[in-house]
Subunit: 109 residues, 2 copies
């Protein structure tokens, strides 16, 4: 993490980013956008969250620079603006799988 030369406040910025990803609802939204942009109504259907809730989470994700917004008439389309999201999630995923595999193996001994 190059802890040495981190400017003060950097850790808070990094933590803030992790915190945005620390909500299952937001991860669901990200997952729903994996194959391309969707408008809010479509995201409500895909995630089974309420419209108000989806709207707030989209705001959080957009402010964090993870999503982008595009207005088209009445609709607002959201899309993944930060591709590194998938790298992050994949890293966590593979780690989780290792942990679970290790746990499963320790049953046998």
């Amino acid at each position: 993490m190059k802890a040495n030369k981190l400017p003060p406040g950097a850790l808070e910025l990094i933590a803030a980013r992790f915190r945005v990803l620390g909500e299952p609802s937001r991860l669901r939204l990200i997952a729903a956008l994996e194959k391309g942009e969707k408008n809010v109504t479509e995201l409500v259907e895909a995630t089974e969250l309420t419209q108000a809730n989806v709207s707030r989470h989209l705001q959080t994700l957009t402010e964090a620079g993870m999503l982008g917004r595009r207005k088209e008439g009445l609709n607002v389309y959201y899309f993944i603006a930060d591709k590194s999201l998938f790298e992050l999630c994949d890293l966590v995923c593979s780690r989780l799988q290792k942990d679970l595999a290790a746990k499963a193996a320790s049953f046998g001994k």
Copy 2:
């Protein structure tokens, strides 16, 4: 994120992991352990958090499998158990730097 074939509850597990990393104090502890194990007293000094606070965060990190524990007499030494932590933080860091650079550049135009 392979949103397709994620077992139910997987997103909650992933989010939980991100949430653990979503606290600056915990990131400070991780950073303090980058160069090798430390005991609790050393971590208190390194982070300037209270002993009780450090102890709780260490518990959180250890339960998440990110840190390991080793007792030696009265002291308990903690160490990084999950090297992928640094990959995660580096990914976030480089993304942040890009965002900041872009913001800085947009001042000039």
